[in-house]
Symmetry: C2
Subunit: 454 residues, 2 copies
């Protein structure tokens, strides 16, 4: 059995519950604060933006949250997703390590994002919301929400970071194919957008700006709400289907992971993979090393400060305690657009402070080198984001060749690279460089982060 | 069980043999002829282009051909592919019909083409070939061969039709990611290319021209051979894994098809789907209606003549008896680039003459209309090619709504549309028109087809 290429689960084995890691922590993460008063906010403060069901999940302490049947019905379009044993990569590396990757690129939008887009669309539709707004960087999240909105008859309006809107036009085409409306951000449609354009008419945009625009548009209309693709607790909760399935799949082949490695932008893919394994680790049943990998150009965990900051550039969101480079820091343009966020999920930041995993930053050229090895052996062309985790997995497998250890390495290949081929062109043409993060610009951005006690 | 979304097979159920429909026909298809003498050619005439193992398969009368373990090992990267029950589409159409689609977009290259690219690369490598040349239109086949060549350490050189090379640059990026070299065709690298460029410096190219270039390059080097992605018997043979799996999958849910519908360009996807079902039909075990759908702009089966013609525009290939619009007919540019071939597989043409299936032509706007309905219900954005079969499936399902018949409809979704989003843009912008085939240009092209007895 251990030599299977794909470890599949039957649809009857699709998870019935999401796992809420908060229930198993010694202390909950610090609460979000009101941006003006700096006092903890209650669930009602989020009501203009999110439906009550999601707000309840955001603050829930319940260990397991049932997945509605209507959501499972859409999940079945691609879930359970396959767990792959990367045997051909192992052979190419001549390593005794066993490398597994959970592949989320089989979803219609091509990434893990629909795992949360679908329940978000469902709960909004169930509460009578007519339309969703959101932001998107590389386009993965916007595609996912456009797909999910179509499944529940919701309108969908997406602000896409201008740089991606221009570089990757086909992500917007995909959103439109599913019925969404797509704007380049900053746009003239919102005050937040107009303010940026007034100072920087050629602004390439950023996730922080696009979030401000989408939030503003949702606030302006009673029948419209907002959806966020990462960072928040309910998003991380929904993503735990990844890890729950992977646990069951590894059990089928009788393996337990020695290393779990994922890439982090806002953190939802990494959380989805490792939370269920962390539950098993906290219960003493397994003891994997857990590693987050972020881009060297946007090193939120490894070089950011752990303090209260805004989620968006305009300072419209509640203050969240998280690892941050400053809410108006705009990372250099790297090809892993999905990892270019100034902050890190508060829940993941909290777990990092508790010492529950380690983190490192890797340069983009090392990531593409691993991506090429992977594509030429396993076939799948990965999105630039998960190549960060692949690079660490390959390095570990090469170390095992030296030591002879038969380590079991588990990673999440959270998306395919079909809309990222320009990045591969740049790498193959030798045009990619290693962008370090800008220490000075970060220091400047951090100077504008409000000082909050606690 | 009938309400499963995906009917999966375990890797242990991966077919062990390809099925050769020739063994079950009352008469074999007419032999290929020498382009000069018009005499039947023997296997040795193909030796400069193909390895002996493939030539043997090309002329084989054996019912079953074993699939080498090395090929099955690569197949396992994505096979067995899922058979989907399109329940969400059925609900949207409010039809009592049951619609199944076999999804080949899960392969690394995103289509059914790797099913034959992998064995072709394997047999070439096994016989010491160092490098493969080929042509590609929309880029599906070139991608597939690039991927397959990487698996067996072969070099790979692809001539891509200039129009596609410009319109769809990311297919070439994908080929390069897997290590292939890609040229725009017509190119200055071959006599065939130079001849076209001399008369038409801005030629958008055609599959026929690109075939001439790839064949010429293979003939010029002893260690290089040529690979074709459709039309030939051995290609159709390799694709039968599609139908064999679908047979097993439908059996798991206790359904038998009333209608099998596939799209046809060269014919390999359609053949792969229906040959195994035809075997069952000829044996009297099932009685499905079988339908090929081709684009109205390139109606090879429905409006072409059944006679001997060349496979390429320069007249370098043997003469094959097939449905043809004339070897130098260049169809209008439609978005289903993979269906823009002037001829039809000789084996499929033979079966058509024997009355073993029916054919019709559908306009591209009707195809995209069906594609949008499909994408918004089932999630997957289809390649333009299989939307021809989808349009017919949807029409049949709508007819069932009128009659109340619970027909079982089976189609093959032979690829995703991730590299075809410009086509969706054009459709959504209302810029697509229905291009009829050019009767006058076909008549002119047919006047240059050699007259051959028999």
């Amino acid at each position: 059995m251990a030599d299977q290429t794909k470890i599949l689960l039957d649809e009857s084995e699709l998870p019935t519950h999401w796992y809420n890691v908060v229930a198993d922590l010694p202390a909950p993460p610090p609460p979000p604060l009101h941006p003006g008063t700096h006092e903890p906010i209650g669930p009602e403060a989020l009501a203009p933006l999110f439906p009550m069901a999601l707000i309840e999940q955001e603050v829930s302490g319940e260990r397991y949250v049932p997945i509605p049947e209507e959501v499972r019905d859409v999940y079945r379009l691609w879930r359970p997703s396959p767990l792959y044993r990367a045997s051909r990569l192992e052979r190419a590396l001549d390593t005794p390590a066993r490398i597994y990757f959970k592949y989320e690129g089989v979803s219609p939008a091509g990434s893990h994002k629909p795992n949360t887009a679908v329940p978000q669309a469902y709960y909004n539709a169930a509460e009578g919301v007519q339309r969703l707004t959101t932001e998107t960087g590389a386009g993965q999240w916007g595609s996912a929400l456009a797909f999910a909105a179509a499944q529940f008859g919701l309108g969908c309006e997406v602000w896409q970071v201008a740089a991606s809107f221009i570089q990757k036009p086909y992500r917007a085409s995909m959103m439109r194919t599913w019925g969404a409306t797509v704007h380049s951000s900053p746009s003239e449609l919102t005050e937040a957008g107009r303010a940026v354009l007034a100072d920087h008419p050629d602004s390439p945009g950023s996730l922080g700006i696009a979030i401000s625009e989408a939030v503003e548009a949702a606030m302006a209309d009673e029948e419209t709400k907002y959806a966020l693709g990462s960072v928040l607790n309910h998003v991380l909760l929904h993503q735990t289907v990844i890890g729950e399935e992977a646990l069951a799949q590894l059990a089928k082949v009788g393996d337990t992971p020695d290393l779990i490695v994922g890439c982090t932008g806002g953190g939802s893919n990494f959380a989805g993979l490792f939370f269920p394994f962390l539950r098993e680790k906290l219960a003493g049943r397994i003891d994997p090393h857990i590693l987050a990998v972020e881009p060297a150009a946007c090193p939120t965990l490894t070089k950011g400060e752990y303090r209260y900051d805004f989620g968006d550039v305009a300072g419209m969101t509640p203050l969240m305690k998280m690892h941050t480079l400053g809410h108006d820091f705009i990372p250099d343009p790297i090809h892993a657009g999905g990892l270019r966020y100034h902050g890190m999920s508060p829940l993941i930041s909290h777990l990092y402070e508790l010492g529950m995993f380690e983190a490192e930053a890797i340069d983009q050229t090392a990531c593409f080198e691993a991506a090429l090895t992977f594509a030429r052996t396993q076939g799948i062309v990965p999105a630039p984001e998960p190549t960060h985790a692949l690079a660490a997995a390959v390095r570990e497998a090469e170390a095992c060749k030296e030591t002879g250890e038969e380590k079991v390495i588990l990673t999440a290949l959270c998306g395919h690279g079909h809309f990222d081929m320009a990045a591969y062109d740049a790498y193959l043409a030798g045009e990619l460089s290693d962008l370090d993060y800008s220490q000075e610009r970060v220091a400047e951005a951090m100077s504008r982060v409000p000082v909050v006690d606690g």
